[in-house]
């Protein structure tokens, strides 16, 4: 077996910004430093000002729904909509430039053809927000009822992706990706296939909604495989190569163990310790 040019120890020293003994490797330090310096940037206070309120509200909403585990997923018309960052910045700039209110923007916003047009007009009409899990599935159903089938699929994909992110699932099912593929495929279906596709999408969304409020919902890999199965039946595209996406989820073992945290005296307390887990 050929000997490695660089030892693991020298490599770790280089990547830890220390000076490795191997001179050839040590000579790479400036280029690695250059890569780091060229890449990283400080976020502006404008960006922080847009992001922080959204994240804080998302965290508060999660706490409030976690304390009401029996609350079924319903479309809430009273919740303030959480805007995607790009849309939030666009909204801020339109309001600034035109003096229009947010309501006026809703009717004077993105033009047809803009990827956000259909989704956001539907959300405005329905008056629903950007929630997670079961509520997002309900939102997808509402979009579907509006006739925005592709948008409904994309929204469902977001719900699945959020579920995966929250628990670092190693489901390997590619459910979110399959849903996105299906959403894209729907945009190019023939008129003759439309009824069949709509029926399949309705079947999938109904299953997801029922599962979300079930007493024993499918979760993890089982949930992902069910959704992926539905989505692949809807999509007319070939399954994408597994490649990195399968490897990136395979072997992910969940968040690493760390030091259990607990706020010291005087620090705002977190949610109650006995909050039941969300379904």
């Amino acid at each position: 077996m050929a000997e490695n040019r660089f030892s693991d120890r020298d490599i770790e020293q280089l990547l830890s910004a220390l000076v490795p003994e191997n001179e050839e490797l040590a000579a790479l330090a400036p280029i690695l430093r250059m890569l780091k310096d060229q890449s990283i940037r400080e976020v502006s206070e404008d960006e922080v000002a847009v992001f922080a309120p959204q994240a804080a509200q998302a965290a508060r909403w999660t706490i409030s729904t976690a304390s009401k585990p029996d609350q079924k997923a319903t479309v809430s018309t009273s919740r303030r909509r959480l805007l995607r960052p790009r849309l939030a910045m666009a909204l801020a700039s339109v309001v600034l430039l035109s003096g229009m209110t947010g309501v006026a923007f809703a009717s004077n916003g993105a033009a047809p053809g803009d990827p956000l047009y259909g989704l956001d007009r539907a959300l405005e009409r329905i008056g629903i927000g950007d929630g997670a899990g079961a509520e997002r599935i309900a939102e997808a159903q509402a979009l579907f009822q509006e006739g925005l089938v592709a948008e409904a699929m994309a929204h469902a994909a977001g719900a699945v992706a959020e579920t995966e992110d929250a628990s670092l699932l190693a489901d390997g099912s590619g459910a979110a990706e399959a849903l996105r593929d299906a959403a894209e495929a729907i945009t190019s279906i023939d008129q003759g296939e439309a009824d069949e596709v709509r029926a399949k999408v309705a079947e999938m969304l109904n299953w997801m909604a029922d599962n979300a409020v079930s007493e024993e919902p499918l979760t993890g890999r089982d949930f992902g495989e069910m959704v992926a199965g539905f989505a692949k039946g809807i999509s007319t595209k070939d399954d994408p190569e597994e490649g990195d996406a399968a490897q990136e989820t395979e072997g992910t073992t969940g968040r690493p163990e760390g030091v259990p945290g607990g706020p010291p005296q005087g620090v705002p307390q977190g949610p109650p310790a006995n909050v039941p887990p969300r379904p």
């Binding site: 790479l28 400036p30 060229q38 976020v43 998302a58 490897q247 992910t252 690493p256 010291p264």
Partner: protein, 203 residues
């Protein structure tokens, strides 16, 4: 012609690495769980620059949006998180890397677009224009060497260098074994060394 770069000279426009929260992380996390805006602002400031930097270096189409969405997903699940600052950072990078993979798949369906590991900043800062021009040329040559790495090697080196993740954290983000990460970073660094030697750029 051999070109020489001054390894001690730093571009004044170079990004500054955001500071980790360190000992204050536990307090910030506790407050973030209650929905305190200041806590989320602190978390975002401490990590977002590296996430954006990593995504941008890897050719993500909208790195700022992807970063914000990753943080929002974390915000929705924060009440269930228990861990230290390193595990929190790993969590965000796992999510961001997944979105990067999604982005690549979407991009593969679009017309091919040229992608570099990083586009060097083009405007000189000031001072000696000639010296800066030479340094800029050298920077370009050095950074072009990364173009010869495989996608996996660039992902791993990006996470190790830009995100400053450990071996184990990087393995978790990309979903490969620690052994695979070691092999990828070694081959990547060997390729860099060979390309720099063959292009005649001295460091």
């Amino acid at each position: 012609m051999k070109m020489t770069a001054d390894p001690n000279r730093h571009d004044a426009e170079a990004g500054r690495t955001p500071m980790p929260l360190g000992e204050s992380f536990d307090d910030v996390l506790a407050a973030a769980k209650t929905g305190a805006e200041w806590a989320w602002a602190a978390l975002y400031r401490s990590i977002a620059g590296q996430v954006i930097g990593y995504l941008r270096s890897r050719g993500a189409s909208e790195p700022e949006d992807v970063t914000s969405e990753a943080f929002l997903n974390v915000a929705r699940a924060i009440h269930g998180f228990e861990g230290n600052e390193n595990s929190f950072r790993s969590w965000i990078f796992v999510i961001a890397h997944r979105r990067l993979i999604d982005d690549r798949r979407a991009a593969s369906r679009r017309p091919a677009e040229a992608g570099r590991l990083i586009e060097p900043k083009s405007e000189p800062v000031g001072g000696n224009v000639e010296v800066e021009a030479v340094d800029r040329l050298v920077t370009d040559e050095l950074l072009k060497a990364f173009d010869h790495l495989t996608e996996g090697q660039r992902d791993v080196l990006g996470l190790r260098i830009i995100a400053a993740l450990s071996l184990e954290e990087t393995a978790q983000v990309v979903g490969k074994s620690v052994g695979a990460i070691k092999a990828l970073q070694r081959r990547g660094l060997e390729t860099l060394r060979e390309k720099i030697d063959s292009e005649g750029v001295t460091l």
